[in-house]
Symmetry: C2
Subunit: 420 residues, 2 copies
């Protein structure tokens, strides 16, 4: 297979000076990689004619695909189009599709199309417009001496929208890239290194055209199999076989989905399917676990609510944790976690509950219970009660987020009947 090289260029002083975060180039690099196109350089330059012209010349010598983002706005700062027009030797002409799109964009918002905004519908002669449903600046595709130039607006959701709708399919067609297939395997409750050890023989025996990526986050490690081959049938069969071989190695405690869904969505699916409900009682996680649960659209069907019991008063009055227990053993221990889980389950009359109590830090730690020490409990209306202690790190924000993520996995295991 011939390798296709790409360069990605972002234009704008605000990126150079660190005023905004560039998320475009990471996304583009990953998407191109999924098409089998290799990004060999990324560059950011300022909003100046000479800088853009130079990088265009350099990049077109090295790559068969040059993607530019930014500098397409209606203001004078935004000169990408002017430089590109001169570089390609093609004057800017009014494009009717682009004019339709920008007119529609303003009309749908009850705003008038100004002359300045109409300028946005001009693109270099012979360029193909990549239509933009998300904003006012059209994308553009131009083939010039063996190199494809794509120019996109810098606003991330416009850029991504245009690429998904038009740019990526056109690239796939133009470069006749081989077939690509991905298979996601979601795991939780296991670290990258343990997982890697567990599947090392399987990984070593993968065919050369299938690669494995470990994508870790607070919520667990996502495995991604990527196959690239010119024989689509072989590709599909192989990915399927490899996945079937992999799943038993993972075991059903770690593995939870072969679609790319996070634990909160998976939990929601389980609860909806079974017609069950949920409540939460949080202390150190401070509402973050409930935020994860309610970040899922439609979660009001199964999530009735919960309590953040930051003070001992609230643990006692609202969750029925015994005063003597709090006085004798403090707020962070398995008994308190269990009492909180039972308290919220009964009070909110739900099928399941989770409770989290711990020391987020930076203050409040002791030799016996250092910062990062967290107790959790799972309870169900059929009488199950499971609790466990964890030792996380020293950093407050991380402890909050890790506690919530680990609670999601405990909840998942509880619902799936896999706690022990």
């Amino acid at each position: 297979m011939r390798e296709i090289y790409a360069e990605v260029i972002t234009i704008g002083d605000e990126i150079l000076y660190g005023q905004i975060t560039d998320t475009n180039t990471q996304w583009l690099g990953a998407e191109l990689s999924l098409l089998g196109i290799k990004t060999i350089r990324k560059s950011s330059v300022g909003d100046r004619y000479g800088e853009i012209e130079t990088i265009l010349q350099e990049a077109s010598q090295r790559a068969q695909l040059v993607i530019l983002t930014g500098g397409l706005g209606p203001t004078n700062d935004d000169i990408t189009k002017k430089v590109l027009s001169d570089f390609l030797g093609k004057p800017l002409v009014l494009n009717n599709d682009a004019l339709t799109d920008v007119s529609y964009f303003f009309a749908s918002r009850g705003r008038e199309l100004s002359d300045v905004n109409k300028q946005q519908a001009y693109i270099p002669l012979d360029a193909r417009v990549l239509r933009n449903q998300y904003g006012t600046a059209p994308g553009m595709w131009y083939e010039h001496q063996q190199t494809v130039f794509i120019s996109l607006p810098g606003v991330p959701y416009e850029m991504k929208g245009i690429m998904k709708d038009h740019g990526l399919p056109a690239l796939k067609k133009h470069f006749k890239t081989p077939f690509i297939q991905h298979q996601i395997i979601r795991t939780a409750g296991v670290g990258e290194s343990v997982l890697a050890e567990q599947i090392t023989d399987w990984e070593a025996a993968l065919p050369a055209f299938i690669s494995l990526a470990y994508l870790p986050s607070y919520g667990g490690v996502k495995l991604r199999l990527t196959g690239i081959n010119e024989d689509q049938t072989l590709l599909q069969t192989s990915i399927k076989q490899q996945t079937e071989q992999l799943l038993p190695l993972l075991g059903d405690k770690y593995f939870y989905a072969t679609e790319d869904i996070n634990l909160e969505v998976h939990i929601g699916n389980l609860l909806k399917a079974a017609g069950k409900t949920l409540s939460l009682a949080e202390s150190c996680s401070g509402g973050y676990a409930q935020h994860l649960i309610t970040s899922v659209p439609g979660s009001s069907v199964y999530f009735k609510g919960g309590i953040v019991s930051y003070s001992n008063d609230i643990k006692e009055q609202e969750l029925g944790v015994s005063k003597s227990l709090l006085e004798q053993k403090g707020a962070v221990n398995l008994e308190v976690a269990e009492a909180m889980a039972k308290g919220i389950l009964h009070k909110y009359k739900t099928s399941y509950s989770i409770a989290i109590t711990g020391i987020a830090g930076p203050e409040g730690g002791s030799a016996e219970k250092p910062v990062g020490f967290v107790c959790m409990a799972f309870a169900s209306d059929s009488g199950e009660l499971f609790s466990k202690t964890f030792q996380f790190g020293k950093e407050r924000d991380t402890n909050i987020k890790v506690s919530a993520a680990v609670a999601m996995n405990l909840l998942r295991l509880g619902i799936e009947g896999k706690l022990s």
Copy 2:
């Protein structure tokens, strides 16, 4: 003043292919900018000799400062040092300070120093080591034909640590950059454009050596005055004067702090100073407002707790919202928000409370109350009750975060006695 140009180069395939997020270049661009050094290009290249060599040659033609990050690990992939050594014509030699640091790093973790790790203490002859307290790869400073080359490890906290400890002070000294002073002014409850209009005359009259940046986020717009001058006294006096002129223009509803603290921290300071307490009742924000409050270290002093009342049952049973009100007018209106705020205030016996109820989306909207429609209320134990409706956007995650951020400002105004 002579302008100093910088280029920042990141090395590593994982950045090109979008496998990791590059946070280094944004941080470096911002820090250099604060020193008065202008970043003119940022580039990412792969872990290949030729690519690194080419970009080094190019960058050294254009800039007086070239910063490289990444490619300093102990593995064979990491070849930055080799390329740099050849490019500078200086063989790699063992540096004793670097050896001390890497030895200490391993010893403090009870691990043995391998030969591979000892390699990390080699730097080009005549280069100055920028010592690394945070990991095993030393930073490096080399002056070559009018250009300063700095090479740093790619791990963000190591890179930032080395630059703060050694790199930035050395740059300040080497380039004799002028004095720089910043003044942060935090605002909330006002958009960038309204703010800009309100202070347009003041902004236009700023002396040439003081610039203004608008840094918007969900929580409000942060203003940053940056002054650059060779006369430190003039600089300090001018920044002080400009700030004094600015504050009255902002008005005391929008302005809340001249230190760089977010609303949650500011609220915590107010509550601690006054010995007051807080509770929250959330519906559509799903725990995120409580997460913001509890993200502040020490928040357990003033935050007693709160309820996420996702179902109407919980609003009724736990917060005392009347059943007939919920049945007749639904869960999203000012009366429900007020009842929730009063309910949690009395139940949790706090000085203040905030309640949030709304339609986060994507489902649940109507013509009268579309997605993004949110009602909030503030209550105090001295009998104050204030409520307000808001119309946010269509996107669930944004609605959750914006609701929580706006609630923080409502709470701030309530505590400061500025609601009306």
